[in-house]
Amino acid sequence: METLTVTTAAVTDNQRWVDGFAERPDLQQGPAQLVSFRQNAIEKLAQTSFPTRRDEDWRYSDFTRALNEDWATQVAQAPQVVRNTFEIPDFTGFVLVTIDGEFQPDLSDTIPGLVVSTTEALIDDATHGSWIAERLSSFAEDDNAFTNLNAAFAKTSLFLSIGKNEKIGKPVHVIHLATRNASKRFINSQVFVRIPQGAELTIDETFDTLAQGEAIFRNHVIRGSVDAQGRLEYRSIQNEGRNDYHVSNANFDQAGTGYIDHTRVDLGGSQVRNNLDINHKGAGLETHMAGLFFARGRQRIDNQTFLDHAFPHGESNEIYKGIVMDNAVTSFNGKVLVRPDAQKTNAYQQNDNLIIGTKAEANAKPQLEIFADDVKCSHGATIGQMDEAPLFYLMARGIDRGTALGMLQRGFLLEVLDRINSEAVRAYVEHMLMAKFNEA
């Protein structure tokens, strides 16, 4: 006789989010459109499962256990914030601050020439309302439980835009703070960036935490569009606490002749997952995507990127480099799609990983899918161990093992560090990197 055993995998209990949503009357308030997007999103979430290891694209990121912990979603009472603690030293630009996802005008600079506002303030606006609504509805309806969750709970989200053919000439640093307290806190933050035709903007985004206390789970979304001849330079630097969780969903629509240069840095977090999607909407554009990650201890850092070349004469350049040591696990999954119409595309993708020690694990899955015949595409991935020979050479010149290792690790990541077009930001990243190299 046959016995049938049914095993149920651990799943995330979505009902708790639905219940949590009902306990937040503040989410039912505000502009009617926004309230209805939130309502749609929570309904969608009720029917959408969070991904598990069984989903091919989430093999190295399973947040089920983390999600099932007890998370508070209310915006906390933020302590007094001394802004300059979180600023980038020697940064010559403007600073904006969010706390627990909400934009903080009082802590932020006034930026001449830049529209700095919130989804709440602009959802019914003649110029930006429909653009925001389009984005909010699209990600509330995603088949991605994380973005549904974000759309349901996000409140006073930052919106940035600039006039056609304008630029402000200085970068904008967005500091995202999260307040720790006695209970674990879940933060749904959103940023919207709209770059119209011929306009230019540089954004440096960092994530930090306020006060002492329990873990933070940040579920971050950034959505943007870059129109013809528009240029966006967008860096995102994550160095949150080693018990914190971080999921980021970045999604940009890039019009023909638009330019996007993105760099992502991940040093912190206990478990980190980044989704980056760039959708090409026209011919002759240029996209740069760079990533730098360094995982140690028991950290898990997972980068998933998707670039959709759908039109001719596009250029893309992707380089992700990471170091993994101790018991950490990293993965890179980069998909580049070159559709039949995307003739004369130049697509380059590279992912290099350096493993230190015997227990660390790096996973690389470069995927280049080409359906056009007149294109130049290349991709590659390497996973290597730290060589003894260079280490011996440096030590034979009196340099101690730790310093020598740090020099070699930095050398390995240099190609990505060199992509950071801001001396202050680069120094800031290098400083954090060095501190992490030097951890015992």
């Binding site: 003894e388 260079p390 011996f392 009196g398």
Partner: protein
């Protein structure tokens, strides 16, 4: 300065050094010659502390300390320098950063103040001129894409900057044209003094015309089979190694 007694070393169970005895006193220049594969680089590597060469017997005293007990970096800090036969290329680490880190690591270990960027640069440029290296090599990644001769000049530059008590040159002359050879000889000769010693490993007598050794040793099959003064090098130049090989092989047969 350096006293090697009955040194045995193996790589992956294969014995390579089979009882080396060598004494180097302050101010002396010793040359080690010998056919390819005789163990010259192995001896140099064991002294510098390369881990894959396991010491199975013997002892090495360097300036009153048990050298074999010291880590690689400590040996360098104590004044031992190895000019590599094959200098390693290290992408992403500039020559300037490397040189400064190494100067300061050694200064710090010896209780001296570290040099700041400007001081280090001044010193480095001065010594670069001495080894006829263009300052543009400072910005380049360490040894990456350097020609054979450029790598060797860079080794000499490091030797001059670190001012070791004992410098071991492992075939620094091989593959060099006559001009580069002169640079190497000049670097060594400018540093010779009563308190500094050199161990010059070479395959050819040519270098020893310029760096005149006090002693010449022949290494063959992991042993020093003959020692003499500089005339031994000349004899080897004339007669090659075969007669020594034959003599040794006859004895061991």
């Amino acid at each position: 300065m350096l006293s090697i007694k009955n040194l045995h070393s193996q790589v992956e169970e294969t014995p390579i050094l089979k009882g080396i005895n060598l004494d180097i006193k302050p101010g002396e220049v010793h040359a080690i010659m010998g056919p390819n594969g005789s163990g010259k680089s192995t001896l140099a590597s064991v002294l510098a502390g390369r881990e894959e060469y396991e010491v199975t017997d013997g002892s090495v005293d360097f300036l009153g300390e048990d050298l074999l007990e010291l880590d690689v970096d400590e040996r360098a800090q104590n004044g031992l320098f190895l000019a590599f036969q094959y200098p390693i290329e290290i992408p992403g680490v500039t020559n300037a950063t490397f040189l400064r880190s190494s100067i300061n690591a050694i200064r710090k270990a010896n209780g001296l103040d570290e040099l700041n960027g400007a001081q280090a640069l001044k010193l480095i440029r001065e010594k670069m001129a001495a080894v006829e290296m263009d300052p543009s090599f400072l910005k380049r990644s360490l040894n990456e894409g350097f020609s054979g001769g450029e790598k060797k000049r860079n080794e000499m530059l490091q030797m001059m900057l670190l001012e070791p008590k004992l410098a071991i040159l492992d075939e620094t002359d091989s593959g060099l044209d006559i001009d580069a050879l002169q640079v190497v000889a000049k670097a060594v000769n400018s540093m010779r003094d009563a308190n500094r010693s050199f161990l010059v490993v070479t395959h050819y007598q040519r270098l020893l015309d310029h760096i005149v050794p006090d002693f010449v040793h022949v290494l063959y099959q992991g042993r020093i089979v003959r020692s003499g003064d500089k005339s031994l090098a000349l004899e080897l130049e004339k007669r090659g190694y075969d007669w020594i090989k034959e003599e040794v092989d006859a004895q061991t047969a």
